[in-house]
């Protein structure tokens, strides 16, 4: 069971010049050490990254880190580990011209209608294309 992620933005006092992820030594309170099983989509995200980086050479793990680090602070803090990954994978597939944003949106709409037709819950949340946008 995946625990509900925390959706808060953390204050970065005295963070002048740091990228959003580069917070070593800053006080963010206690670390949540609760373990949880990975959801199926998280396992698939992991598999996709390995496939795209190591087998297909579509982009490097360094490019993936760069895209995640370029998130705005709010998007960075309010997304979970694999949410950061899947968003970066999507944006890099577009950056490398494997798929277009329109193709992604079209497919997402198709899948949403299939799930709704089968009585499954579909989240209204979307992942913003803009790099600084909130997720």
């Amino acid at each position: 069971m995946t625990s509900s992620p925390s959706r808060t933005t953390l204050l970065r006092e005295g963070a002048d010049g740091r990228a959003v992820h580069d917070v070593g030594g800053m006080d963010f309170g206690p670390i949540d050490r609760d373990e949880h099983d990975l959801a199926l989509w998280e396992k698939r995200t992991d598999a996709m990254l390995i496939l795209l980086c190591s087998k297909k050479n579509v982009f490097t793990i360094d490019a993936m880190r760069r895209v995640i680090e370029d998130y705005g602070q709010q998007a960075y803090d309010r997304t979970t580990y694999y949410e950061k990954w899947i968003r970066a994978i999507r944006n890099l597939l577009v950056e490398q011209e494997i798929v277009s944003p329109d193709e992604v949106e079209k497919r997402m709409a198709e899948l949403a209608s299939v799930h709704r037709a089968n009585g499954r819950r579909v989240s209204a949340e979307t992942i913003d294309w803009a790099k600084g946008g909130a997720a």
Binding site: R18, A19, D22, G24, T60, D62, A63, R65, R66
Partner: protein, 101 residues
């Protein structure tokens, strides 16, 4: 088998080095809290394609020498409460280091 270009190794184990204090332009593996700090080269980790270039779909050549650098915790954190001999080791690429002597 091709031999890739590698930058010359400028530092050796035991040498005191200084992490350059400069802002990162884009992807960077040198954490902010180590910039401007002084440490000692613990070992040479090898040479790797430059992640700062790989991150932008460039080949990342010539490869950069990567060092394991040892810092005293008291050098990094002004209020460090532990023993004075406690240290931290971090992998730092050569382009971020300069000789401290």
């Amino acid at each position: 088998m091709s031999v890739e270009a590698v930058t010359a190794q400028r530092f050796r184990p035991g040498q005191t080095v200084h992490v350059i204090e400069r802002p990162a332009l884009g992807h960077c593996r040198t954490p902010w809290y180590l910039r401007g700090k002084t440490g000692v080269v613990a070992s040479v980790q090898g040479a790797y394609r430059d992640p700062e270039r790989l991150a932008y779909h460039k080949p990342g050549l010539p490869s950069q020498v990567l060092y394991k650098v040892r810092f005293l915790q008291t050098e990094l954190w002004p209020d460090y409460p532990g023993p004075a001999s406690d240290h931290l080791e971090a992998d730092i690429y050569e382009g971020w280091l300069e000789s401290a002597s």
